[in-house]
Symmetry: C2
Subunit: 349 residues, 2 copies
């Protein structure tokens, strides 16, 4: 089993005021230490307009991280395509891929937060067509070394060649968050890697992975367990009481995210926090909060369901990172690391 | 007198093929060494669709540079505003400013290359209104900690607060390239710092600086010579013959830029390469190519005209960087460094 971290920094820190950048530097320091502790990747969110200084320029922070690490995979979870010019984004992703020696894991999504769609003045019902058009333009930007033109619904480009190309060929692995059968099937058909949410049970994830695998194999795309990352909230506690207290603290943070994301009167769907927040404790039921033994049991249940790659989120600081590495990680080493990891991607269309 | 470097990397290198990222890493290595050699800043271009792997994601490379330097000012020369969503760009610039401890010198422009306007499908006559709208949105994004909405000709945002804010207050210094009296006057009135081109003579630059200074002072904005950077092509040679050979090599590269930039049948204007390329040797007449003594003479002429900050471009490698630092720089130390550098910015409108 392999572990990554799923980061969500804020520019400020509680002790130094909101605008010092210390929170960003803390994220970098933790991720650098994570590499040394044996973590495989650091995935970082993208968010806007929260009022609490979340990471908005995700690829910039991951570029900073690239300069202080050598092996760590640099993930995004996820860049929301409807906000971005797809050519500029392809250039930024390729630049990070070049600078990092091919370590970008490019997680992409449609967006789900109401306040972000409203802020950018983009109708939420354009999320899917914008996502699709951007994927098409980005893949063409990365893979065409001849000039091309694009006439789309949202974007037009004329006789361009996009530079630099990415280092990973034909392009960095694309990761998508998916939960429904239809979205998992579609991700598998396109050769996208899969990010499964931090809220569903091991059984649900097991069914999802089985579906994903079967569709990939039917398409001749092959399957490797490292193509599926399951997010999981983790806290290694001294006691059950400490774990419960931390879980309540976690629940308060989750509610803040829910509040800023909700569409007034809107329907709930997708695999993100909103779809679980509708149920009491739905966002905490499967969190890996407990003593080291309890956390191990939860991870064993995930492994039994076919999960071999877990993204841990959020750490309440470097101490938790070290504690997980010391008390939990050793029990899971070696089941995947020795195998060759194929990040098989379909050839460009 | 202070010196910076004006960088233009390419993703490839001549020896390793075009797509290894080595050229980007070389840029970083040279700029890191420049800091150690006493250079004040590294300004980096933004370009797209050239076919020769120029820097397209400028702020990403400068973020990488931020992680390996501590004092060097991190400049852009220039980010072309018409290509960018102004809110995303404000976030990226602020993130770099936070990560670097407030070292961003944010050079911005309208664009001048025909192939870039064509590639992005943006009419060239929208360059100025797009620039103006983006400046307005960016400054508001950086300075408003209350939510605001924007309804413009090109961009709409609704009830946003842009995060993170920059570390430099009220925002990073804005630099613009200007050449005509009207554009210099406008830059001075707005408190923008000034980048003067690499082609004009010391006398021309002297007149420009005098105008810029008088308008700033009349507006009560104050003036400091470090608010004006003059770009200059430099090569320190062993002999006049070597200098002439290097200048001819330089002229060939310049012609390539001219060819990719020219609007078919279009008028020539502005302070960029195209306005000087119309004259025979117009882009080489004032280059600082020569023996160390000859280069010093050219810099003395600039200093006599009121120039105290020179951005050197391009270096043909780290050896030239070291040679300039060893043979030329010592003659110019100390005239500005001891003074306090005020990066006075107007209060937000």
């Amino acid at each position: 089993m392999q572990f990554g971290i799923f980061g969500s920094a804020q520019a400020g820190s509680l002790h130094l005021g909101p605008e010092t950048g210390q929170g960003f530097r803390d994220y970098l320091d933790h991720a650098i230490e994570a590499e040394a502790l044996g973590f495989h990747a650091s995935f970082l969110v993208e968010h806007h307009f929260t009022g609490w200084n979340q990471v908005s320029a995700t690829l910039m922070l991951q570029t900073a991280l690239a300069m202080r690490t050598t092996k760590l995979r640099l993930g995004t979870a996820v860049i929301v395509l409807p906000w971005h010019n797809p050519v500029l984004l392809a250039e930024q992703a390729a630049t990070l891929d070049q600078i990092s020696g091919g370590r970008l894991d490019f997680g992409i999504g449609r967006g789900y937060r109401h306040n972000e769609f409203a802020g950018f003045c983009i109708p939420q019902d354009e999320a899917t067509p914008r996502f699709e058009e951007s994927v098409e333009v980005m893949i063409r930007s990365w893979t065409s070394r001849a000039r091309f033109s694009h006439r789309g619904r949202f974007w037009q480009f004329d006789e361009i060649v996009v530079e630099p190309p990415p280092l990973q060929q034909p392009h960095p692995p694309l990761w998508v968050a998916a939960g429904s059968d239809a979205s998992i099937r579609r991700a598998a058909e396109r050769g996208f890697n899969l990010i499964l949410d931090q809220y569903a049970s091991p059984e649900q994830h097991g069914q999802r992975i089985a579906l994903y695998r079967s569709v990939r194999e039917a398409k001749g795309l092959g399957f490797h367990p490292m193509q599926v990352a399951v997010a999981r909230q983790v806290h290694v506690a001294d006691s059950r009481a400490e774990a419960e207290a931390e879980l309540e603290k976690q629940a308060r943070w989750t509610r803040r995210t829910v509040e800023v994301s909700r569409t007034p009167g809107g329907a709930i769907g997708g695999s993100h926090v909103l779809s679980y927040a509708a149920t009491a404790a739905g966002t905490e039921a499967n969190a890996c909060f407990g003593t080291a033994d309890e956390v191990c049991e939860r991870l064993i249940a995930l492994r039994a369901a076919g999960v071999e790659y877990v993204l841990l989120t959020p750490f309440s600081g470097p101490e938790q990172l070290r504690r997980f590495a010391r008390e939990v990680m050793p029990a899971f080493n070696g089941t995947t690391a020795e195998r060759e990891i194929r990040t098989s991607q379909p050839a460009p269309a």
